[in-house]
Symmetry: C2
């Protein structure tokens, strides 16, 4: 079916029928605003991320379902990075004329599937025609107990720097796709279908284990730089301690020049956080029960001299490239 036959309001009715309301939502899709409750003692967390065709994704390289899932995951990742729990999603869609209703249904199914994975509902949005690219703009609201928020600005000298999961997989997948090659299923999934570390972020916040936290979306060094600037600190990072997946390590063994992807590649959606020495023992327990590898990759140091990355022999890795900048490097 073509969207022109269904019409804007037919399409909205279709979304509404498919989107069950979650707890705390008084009024969802179908009025001028969504109406929701915030429990006393909780704070509201809000984040928004736009995914633009030919900038953030190519329709040829992914599927509408994965695109819908990713769109949710990248927003939930921001809420996880404050330690919060996602509650409501609002989806803005700019739809090019060539998209079929079947593709939109798949996109929506991906959004709803990922929303359910993280316990969120689709509470509202806006749908319109696009004269150019497919545009996805998702806003996510979450909540967190007052007093548990983990910002970027709390790191202290002596804190250990930790990162979850592995680094560089998404960037390596993108490099393969751009070169016209097919990334491994693992790498492709890390790029097209990232997992937000929702439970981990909530636990670190609830147990007050992290002094500062950010998600790795622009690349480890860029995001660590954001965290350190907000904390007015520097850091020493041990390049040999960066967690690498088996697929990344195998590629690196063949092509040692890939290492900068682990330092600066974007879209890992892992959590990067700082932990005071006294909390490190508790952290080991978290890593075990959450079954996510947590790697200590360095230490926060006094002074705002930025990040120093050392290699296996203690030498300084020469001026590591910074992460993705939408305007400096273009697409």
């Amino acid at each position: 079916m073509k969207l022109a036959e269904l019409g804007e309001f037919g399409f909205i009715a279709r979304i509404r029928a498919a989107a069950p309301p979650g707890p705390g939502l008084r009024l969802g899709i179908g009025d001028d605003c969504a109406v929701s409750e915030v429990t006393a003692g909780e704070l509201l967390l809000t984040t928004t991320d736009m995914l633009l065709e030919d900038v953030h994704f190519c329709r040829d390289w992914t599927s509408p379902r994965l695109l819908g899932r990713k769109c949710v995951a990248v927003n939930v990742s921001d809420i996880a990075a404050m330690g919060g729990t996602v509650r409501h999603l609002y989806l803005g869609l700019g739809i090019p004329a060539d998209m079929a209703v079947a593709e939109l249904d798949e996109l929506l199914a991906g959004v709803l599937e990922a929303a359910a994975d993280y316990g969120a509902d689709l509470a509202g949005g806006d749908t319109c025609a696009s004269s150019g690219p497919l545009v996805l703009s998702l806003t996510a609201e979450g909540t967190i107990a007052d007093g548990d928020v983990v910002g970027r600005g709390g790191a202290c000298p002596g804190d250990a720097v930790y990162v979850s999961g592995s680094l560089g997989d998404s960037a390596l997948a993108l490099r393969e796709l751009r070169a016209g090659r097919r990334p491994s299923a693992f790498l492709a999934s890390r790029h097209h279908d990232p997992t937000a570390r929702a439970a981990l972020g909530q636990r670190l916040a609830r147990e007050h284990l992290a002094t500062a936290m950010i998600d790795v979306s622009d690349g480890l060094l860029a995001d660590l730089g954001h965290l350190l600037r907000a904390s007015t600190c520097g850091a020493r990072i041990d390049g040999a301690a960066l967690p690498l997946s088996a697929d990344f390590a195998a590629a690196l063994a063949v092509e040692p020049g890939l290492f900068p992807l682990a330092l600066s590649g974007g879209e890992d959606y892992e959590l990067l956080f700082t932990v005071p020495p006294a909390a490190i023992a508790s952290l080991a327990r978290v890593a075990e029960t959450e079954t996510i590898p947590l790697s200590r990759i360095g230490t926060v140091v006094a002074g705002a001299q930025g990040v120093i990355v050392t290699d296996r022999n203690g030498g300084v890795v020469a001026s590591p490239p910074s992460g993705h900048d939408h305007f400096r490097r273009g697409v």
Copy 2:
């Protein structure tokens, strides 16, 4: 200056420096999420609207400042239509390569100026490059006392149908622009720089005068249709009672065929609401103190037979065209 020189993070720092935090905002631009407070006894209202170049606006016909202002007004209008007060704004920007920093500064100035007009702050957002059109995606959060929310579904047979301000001005301005003519300053301002009826909406909700409310964005008949479907009612509308501005009336005198623009033209951003007979006297007092004309244009009737529009002689206006549909009619 070009955006490539400033870079993404330079641009974000510029926005952050210009955007003062408002009440209840614990943490604004510069972390993974904004963090805000919701007072006990209040509900959260959330709405999102996307403005896409060549669909919602042409950069040749407006200025970046007005575009920024309009982007805020259309969202605040949705919050006003529930009776709420806007608090925080989140701006997603997809920026084409040809936009200068000076234009972006103007756009941002317009957003911040309008935010200040309505008492909101810019609490977060996302900036990225666009391979195609300029994309603005704004999400607004507001609050309202629990018990005061005015939805679309509360209209009852016998309620009077009211609309604020005048109808059709924005659509007439757009018609002039599309024909290559210059609309009057009044009409142009109604199209490019609409005012959300924020204080009116809040007052109607607080004093429990409206049983149902919606803002006129898709056109009077389309939006009344949404309200009536949600209320499972119909309505009789007196075509001769539609409020018309002096400029619209003058154009109509020359070209009677313009009348459907008042019935079905979009983007008026007036409030359309239903009032029980017992509340009509109080409403007159509101119109006086808010200094906005409020016009009674019809009556809610039982049964879901839709809207019947009668002309000056009581005849039925033949099948009035419905409002804007993004997918049925394209741009």
